[in-house]
Symmetry: C2
Subunit: 397 residues, 2 copies
C-alpha cells in the first residue's frame, strides 16, 4: 500500500498534528560539524556520578522486575521530604506518583482532567508540548497571548479569566516560564487560585524551573501554588528530574495530585509505561537526597550566563527582550523578523548556531527566537559572537 | 475539598475505569510472608549482566542528554537485524520506533488508529490492558469470546468477522496469547489479513511471546503476521524487551509500523515520554545482539515447567485446561467456580499462593485462573502442592 493511502486511515488528530517547530530546527541542524546548539531545554553537564551510580548498584542487585506502578515507596518518600525541605510545610508521599518524565506527567494530567471537546487555557508564549497532546486527544487548547511591552511580558489576568467558558476544564500555569522567564507573583497565583476555585476548574501547574529563580526578592525559589493551595484541591503539578539534576535523558518525573486522584493517575500510568524502572528510581532518589548543592551550582551558572547574554544582546540594534526572572532561556525579538522558523533554519545555515523559533510557542511568540543559555561559557560566548556577526550582515527575512 | 467532591470533576472514563483484577489480587497478596506468586507475567530470572552492563558504561560516558525520540539509530538497526535473523527476510530500521514498554506501544497504536466512539475488536480471554486504554480514550473495545470445548480454546473466525461494523477501526490479535496460550495458525492469520484488507481496517498484532512456542510443527517461533504481510500495509505490531530477555522492570519495547506511520508514532512518543534513555537503549541493543542463547534457555525452562504443571493439574478433579501451545501461562478452570476474583483472593488467604482471576481477561475468562509458570522449579512444585491441598479441602465458592 502507498503511504498516501495509509495516512487517511489514522485518527484525525494523528493525521494533522504538525511537528514541533523546536524539533524541526533541531532535526535540521543536528549533527552539523561545529554547530553550537541553543535550541534544546537542557544544560551542559551530564548527570553527576552521585546520581547515576545507584543505577548500576540496583541492576547488579537484580532489581529488574515489575514494581509499584505509582513509584517505589522510597522515591515517593524522598519526594515528600524534598518538598517539605523546600516548600516550608509537610508533604505526604501519598500525593506523589512517579512518571516517565515531566511530559508524561502532563499527558496524564490532561487525560484525567479534559476530554474530547473540552477546553484548556494556556497563556502563551508557552512550551508547545501542552497544546500538542491536548489536540491529539481532541481537547481544544485556548491560547491567551501575553503582552510584550517596554521590554516586559505581562499576563493580563482579566483577559485570562475572560477566556474561561462553559467547556473550560483547566488553566495551565508555567512559572517560571519556558520560554520567556516570566514568574507569577504570589498575588498572581492567589488570583488564579481564587478564580479556579470559584469556577470549579483545575489548575495544571508546571513549576519545573522553580529553583531557577532570579527574582528581586532574593528568594531561593519562585512563588509556588504550593505556598497558597491545599494539597486536596483542584491542583495538579507536573514536574521532572530533568532540569534541576542534569537528567534530561533519563525521562523521569513526577505528578503531584490530591490523594483521591493518585489511584486514577496510577491507572493511567499502568496503561502507559506501567511504571518506572526501580533502578532508575534509585538514581532519582539519590538526586533528591544529595542534589541540593548541585542545583545551587547550576542556578549560579545560569545566573552568570544570563548576565553574559543580556550584556551581549542589549547593545545590539533590532534586538528586544525581557531580562528573564527565572528558568534558563532568553526569548528575544529581532525587529522586523516575519517567520521565525525560516529565520532559525537560515541561522543554522549561515551562522552555524541553533535557536528555537518563537512561533513554536504560540502565535504570541512569532518574531522571537528562544535560546537556552545553561551552556559552557566558551560555547556561549562563541555562539553569541557568531549570532552578532550574522545579525550585522544579514536581514532576518 | 473532600475526595468525593474531586472525582466527579475528572473526565468520565477516568472516573469509572476499574482496577485490573490482576493488580487487585497482586496488591492483596503482595509482601505476604512466604507467598508464592504466579499472578504476574514475568519469569524468575533477573536481567543478565551481559544486557545491563552497557547501561553503566553509557552512564559513565555521559550519555544522559535528550536523544532521537524514535530511538537511537543503533537500537533501531539492531531491531531490524534481529527481525531479519528470526523472520527470514529483510527488515529496515525505518519501520521501528523504540517505546517505553510494550504497553506504551499499544497505547500509541490505539491513539493513532482509533478515536472516541470508534470500535476495536478483541478476542477474549485477553490481557486486560488492551481494553483499559481503549476505554480511557472513549474507544469501545468489542469482545469476541473464544470457545472452550473439549479442553481446547478456539477462535471462531466467522464470529470474529461478524463483529466488525462501520465503526470498527482495528482487530487486536495476540498470538501466542496471554492468558490461554492459543496460537493462530498461518491459515488463521491469512484469513484475518484478508478480512482486514477487504474492510480497510487495521491489525494490531501482539506477538510478544513469539519465541515461546511449543507447536507440534517443531518451529522455533509461532506463525507471525510478518510471514504473510507487507511491511507497508495496515499492520502495527507492539512488542517488548520484557519477556524474552528478562527485562520486565526496564519498561522498554518497540512498535513496528509502515514507514508512513513512523513520524506519527514519533510525535506521540514526544507527547508521552519524549523517548527512551540512551543508556537503557544500549542495554536493549545488547539483548538483541547477544541474547539468542538466553532466550533459547528461557524457552526450554518454560517448556519443562509447562509439562510439570500439566502433569500435576491433569489428574485433579474439577480442573480443566488447554495445554498451552505458547507463552508461559496456564489458564485453568475450576469446575463450579463462580467468581474468580473472590476465589483468587481466598486462595491467597487460605493457601498462600497467588493466581490472577480469569474474569480480569474478559467475560469469557470467568471460571478460570491464570498461572505464570516461568518460575524456579522448587517454587513451582511447592506452589502446585499448596494448590492441590487447597483444592482437596475447599469449595471454590
Amino acid at each position: 500500500m502507498r503511504e498516501t493511502d495509509l495516512i487517511p486511515k489514522l485518527t484525525k488528530p494523528a493525521q494533522i498534528e504538525p511537528d514541533s517547530g523546536i524539533v524541526n530546527v533541531a532535526m535540521y541542524g543536528f549533527g552539523r560539524p561545529g554547530i553550537i546548539a541553543f535550541w534544546a531545554g537542557e544544560g551542559n553537564l551530564p548527570t553527576p556520578g552521585a546520581f547515576y551510580r545507584p543505577v548500576g548498584e540496583s541492576l547488579a542487585k537484580g532489581e529488574t522486575f515489575y514494581t509499584w506502578q505509582r513509584g517505589i515507596p522510597e522515591l515517593r518518600e524522598a519526594l515528600a521530604a524534598y518538598h517539605t525541605r523546600h516548600f516550608g510545610r509537610n508533604f505526604s508521599s501519598e500525593n506523589f506518583c512517579v512518571t516517565g518524565g515531566g511530559m508524561q506527567a502532563i499527558q496524564i494530567a490532561i487525560q484525567m482532567l479534559a476530554a474530547d471537546g473540552d477546553e484548556v487555557i494556556i497563556p502563551t508564549p508557552a512550551w508547545p508540548n501542552y497544546a500538542g497532546p491536548l489536540r491529539m486527544q481532541g481537547t481544544v487548547p485556548v491560547e491567551v497571548p501575553m503582552l510584550f511591552r517596554d521590554h516586559r511580558w505581562s499576563l493580563d489576568l482579566d483577559r485570562l479569566f475572560a477566556a474561561a467558558g462553559p467547556k473550560t476544564k483547566a488553566i495551565v500555569i508555567n512559572s517560571p516560564s519556558n520560554p520567556i522567564g516570566w514568574c507569577g507573583t504570589r498575588e498572581d497565583l492567589i488570583a488564579i487560585r481564587d478564580f479556579a476555585r470559584a469556577k470549579g476548574i483545575w489548575i495544571i501547574g508546571d513549576e519545573v524551573y522553580s529553583r531557577f529563580y532570579f527574582g528581586k526578592d532574593g528568594a531561593k525559589r519562585a512563588p509556588s501554588f504550593l505556598d497558597i493551595c491545599d494539597t486536596e484541591e483542584q491542583l495538579v503539578l507536573c514536574n521532572t528530574f530533568s532540569k534541576n539534576w542534569a537528567m534530561t535523558g533519563w525521562r523521569q518525573g513526577w505528578i503531584q495530585v490530591p490523594k483521591a486522584l493518585a489511584p486514577v493517575a496510577e491507572r493511567l500510568i499502568q496503561y502507559n509505561t506501567s511504571g518506572s524502572p526501580v533502578f532508575l528510581q534509585r538514581g532519582c532518589a539519590a538526586a533528591l537526597e544529595h542534589g541540593d548543592a548541585f542545583v545551587d551550582q547550576q542556578v549560579a551558572t545560569a545566573r552568570k550566563n544570563r548576565d553574559i547574554v543580556a550584556e551581549t544582546l542589549r547593545p545590539l540594534n533590532r534586538i528586544h527582550f525581557q531580562m528573564p526572572d527565572g528558568a534558563f532561556y532568553f526569548f528575544f525579538a529581532i525587529e522586523g523578523m516575519k517567520d521565525s522558523l525560516t529565520t532559525a533554519r537560515r541561522i543554522v545555515d549561515e551562522a552555524n548556531v541553533g535557536f528555537a523559533p518563537g512561533a513554536a510557542f504560540g502565535a504570541a511568540g512569532e518574531g522571537f527566537l528562544r535560546m537556552c543559555y545553561l551552556k559552557d561559557e566558551d560555547k556561549l560566548l562563541e555562539g553569541l559572537e557568531r549570532f552578532k556577526n550574522w545579525l550585522a550582515n544579514h536581514d532576518p527575512n
